[in-house]
């Protein structure tokens, strides 16, 4: 069951990524905090994985599914919520955004689907 935490963790990791490139604006306190959290999350995450592996408790198939779900989930969140709904920032400026947005969100969906497939496979593996 350790894999569940991996999922949560990787989602956390990708979530912070969103803030990383979302705020090039200057002078926001929260940005500094989130920036630090994101960096530390990546480092600590990597070491947690090593720790689990050393304890032979790492459920690799769960971890991979979490990895893809996290990446896809936040790519998608970023693409839909912050780019389009909140309009915090755009991928590029002064060009037609349609194809950029399309590519962005489709790649997010592809990552999500890989994640869902791995999740189902992990469940099957645990049952079998």
């Amino acid at each position: 069951m350790a894999g569940i935490d991996e999922i949560v963790f990787h989602q956390l990791l990708q979530w912070h990524h969103f803030f990383d490139h979302a705020t090039p604006t200057i002078g926001i306190v929260s940005d500094g905090l989130l920036h630090a959290a994101e960096l530390l999350a990546i480092v600590i995450g990597a070491f947690l994985l090593i720790d689990l592996a050393q304890h032979r408790k790492l459920a690799a198939h769960w971890a991979w599914s979490g990895f893809f779900l996290g990446m896809g989930g936040f790519q998608f969140f970023d693409g839909i919520v912050s780019h389009k709904l909140l309009r915090i920032h755009q991928i590029r400026y002064e060009v037609n955004l349609f194809y950029y947005d399309l590519t962005w969100n489709l790649s997010a969906l592809a990552l999500l689907m890989v994640g869902v497939w791995l999740y189902r496979r992990a469940r099957q593996l645990d049952r079998g």
Binding site: H35, A36, L39, I44, F47
Partner: protein, 272 residues
């Protein structure tokens, strides 16, 4: 004649910090070699870290680099990164205090050990006070006229650089709580938390300098200040990530049974 001697001393003064670094390094290596001869052993990794730290410091303290750092804020920031963050980390990893304690005669060694347990050392070596000294010192330097003063006053200038080095060393030691024995027993999570605060406040300072063009009154152009602030932001990240990696590598090197849980939920599930 005296004027001539004065000028000579003036020309030699910039080399003083570099000479001190070389001397300290030679002492460290002699002591390490002696420990090995005695059969006590001394990890070559530690010596390598010390040499690395010394090389970084020597590069930063070389008079041409110092001169560059003096008139160019970007150079100053590069120097600050090396002197205040990278070199101290390498030196802390070299465990110089342990080596000193082993090398000194017993009586002197005991005195040093009790000095390390004394209240002042305990106070400044706490992660939170080390953080305040380190990052607080930076806020004070860059967001007040202190930086402008340090450009003209040699004494303040030297003091600022010594402060970088000492505060950086103290901070790395406080966060790692090793390999030299720390007078505090603080949890890994607490120390990671302080490191998090340091990263956040450091990044914030970089952005404040970038956005509001600090330090002021120095004649540096906006572009120069922004380049320096960016270097501070990304270079600071690099140094602090390296510190986090060092801390977690040390954590992984402790045997499973004594390893402190980082993520309590995982441990609960791990228990049969």
């Amino acid at each position: 004649m005296t004027e001539h001697a004065h000028a000579e001393a003036g020309a030699l003064l910039p080399w003083l910090p570099l000479t001190l670094v070389v001397l300290i390094t030679v002492c460290y290596l002699l002591a390490a070699g002696w420990q090995r001869q005695l059969g006590n052993g001394w990890s070559p990794w530690r010596s390598a870290f010390f040499i690395l730290g010394s090389l970084l410091l020597a590069k930063a303290l070389a008079p041409p680099v110092m001169a560059w750092a003096h008139h160019d804020l970007y150079g100053h920031m590069a120097l600050h990164l090396v002197m205040g963050m990278l070199a101290p980390l390498a030196w802390v990893l070299a465990a110089p205090v342990t080596l000193l304690l082993r090398t000194l005669p017993q009586a002197a060694s005991r005195r040093v050990a009790s000095l390390l347990k004394s209240l002042p050392v305990r106070v400044v070596s706490h992660p939170l006070s080390a953080l305040t000294l380190n990052i607080g010192g930076m806020y004070l330097l860059y967001l007040t006229p202190l930086y402008a003063v340090s450009l003209h006053n040699a004494l303040v200038h030297y003091w600022v650089h010594l402060h970088f080095l000492l505060a950086g060393y103290l901070f790395c030691w406080a966060i790692l709580a090793g390999p030299d024995p720390s007078p505090h027993r603080l949890s890994l999570r607490f120390r990671l938390g302080v490191l998090f605060l340091s990263m956040a406040t450091h990044a914030l300072l970089g952005k404040l300098m970038y956005g509001y063009h600090w330090p002021r009154g120095t004649g540096h152009s906006v572009e120069e200040i922004q380049a320096a602030a960016q270097l501070m932001y990304y270079g600071g990240d690099l140094a602090e990530v390296l510190l986090a990696v060092a801390l977690l590598v040390m954590w992984l090197r402790t045997p499973h049974s004594r390893r402190e849980p980082l993520w309590p939920k995982l441990i609960e599930r791990r228990a049969p």
